[in-house]
């Protein structure tokens, strides 16, 4: 554990304790990782470092998103009330930024194709956060409209030519 939140609210302290427990348990499984907590205005940014931190980034960082989900639920419980969206961002090796760049590039290429061919393009399934990035990126390019279709883990962004 490299940092403790400056604002020592009870819920955050519990979360930090949980993270140090995780470090220990993962260490028992021969995985060397450590969590650095950074307290920003209203959200917590947690960065995973260490020799084995890659294990969170495999298969489109599914373990990173999984642990982020658990941390949000845990913080929600410690906070005592069901908060709308608990702002915990879990990152490792700048993955979030890299992924955003990748998604924006994907959105740009797909929008271009839709504009040229006039036929809709359906992207691979993405999580809500990733779909949001794609929707916003497509808006910037103009000439196309976007919506999502499908359910749960299979929800995809569909890019269509805009009426104008």
């Amino acid at each position: 554990m490299t940092a403790v939140p400056a604002d020592g609210s009870e819920a955050r302290r519990s979360l930090v304790e949980f993270l140090s427990g995780l470090e220990k348990r993962l260490g028992d499984l021969d995985l060397r990782v450590s969590f650095a907590v950074e307290c920003k205005d209203e959200h917590l940014k947690i960065d995973i470092t260490g020799d084995d931190s890659d294990c969170f980034l495999q298969r489109k960082a599914e373990a990173l998103d999984a642990l982020q989900h658990i941390l949000r639920r845990a913080l929600e419980k410690h906070a005592g009330a069901p908060t709308m969206e608990v702002p915990v961002i879990l990152d490792s090796h700048g993955y979030r930024k890299t992924r955003e760049t990748e998604l924006r590039e994907m959105a740009r290429i797909a929008s271009e194709r839709v504009r040229k061919t006039g036929t809709p393009v359906t992207l691979d399934p993405l999580n809500p956060y990733e779909r949001r990035i794609v929707h916003l990126a497509c808006q910037e390019h103009g000439g196309v409209a976007t919506h999502s279709s499908g359910d749960g883990f299979c929800r995809r962004v569909v890019i269509t030519p805009s009426a104008g």
Binding site: R25, D52, A63, A66, R73
Partner: protein, 76 residues
């Protein structure tokens, strides 16, 4: 792995003292049976099984070095 699952489960439930994990070992696969209080079942499963899915993903990522598959079973 048992301890890791216990740690995660205790973070999610209202009755941490009711959390119990038993490990049923096999050749390549280990089954982890998670027991929680009945009113906490929803907490470890989550909406559309999202939390259960997240726990399974973490167990498999954490099992990378031990080269085993881990199966999570949630029992009442």
């Amino acid at each position: 792995m048992k301890e890791l699952l216990e740690l995660i489960a205790k973070q999610l439930v209202d009755n941490p003292d009711k959390v119990a994990v038993t490990e049923v070992g096999g050749e390549q696969t280990t089954v982890l049976e998670l027991r929680v209080a009945q009113q906490d079942l929803g907490k470890v499963i989550g909406k559309q099984g999202r939390t259960a899915h997240a726990i399974r993903t973490i167990l498999n990522a954490a099992g990378m070095k031990v080269k085993k598959r881990f199966v999570l079973e949630i029992l009442e």
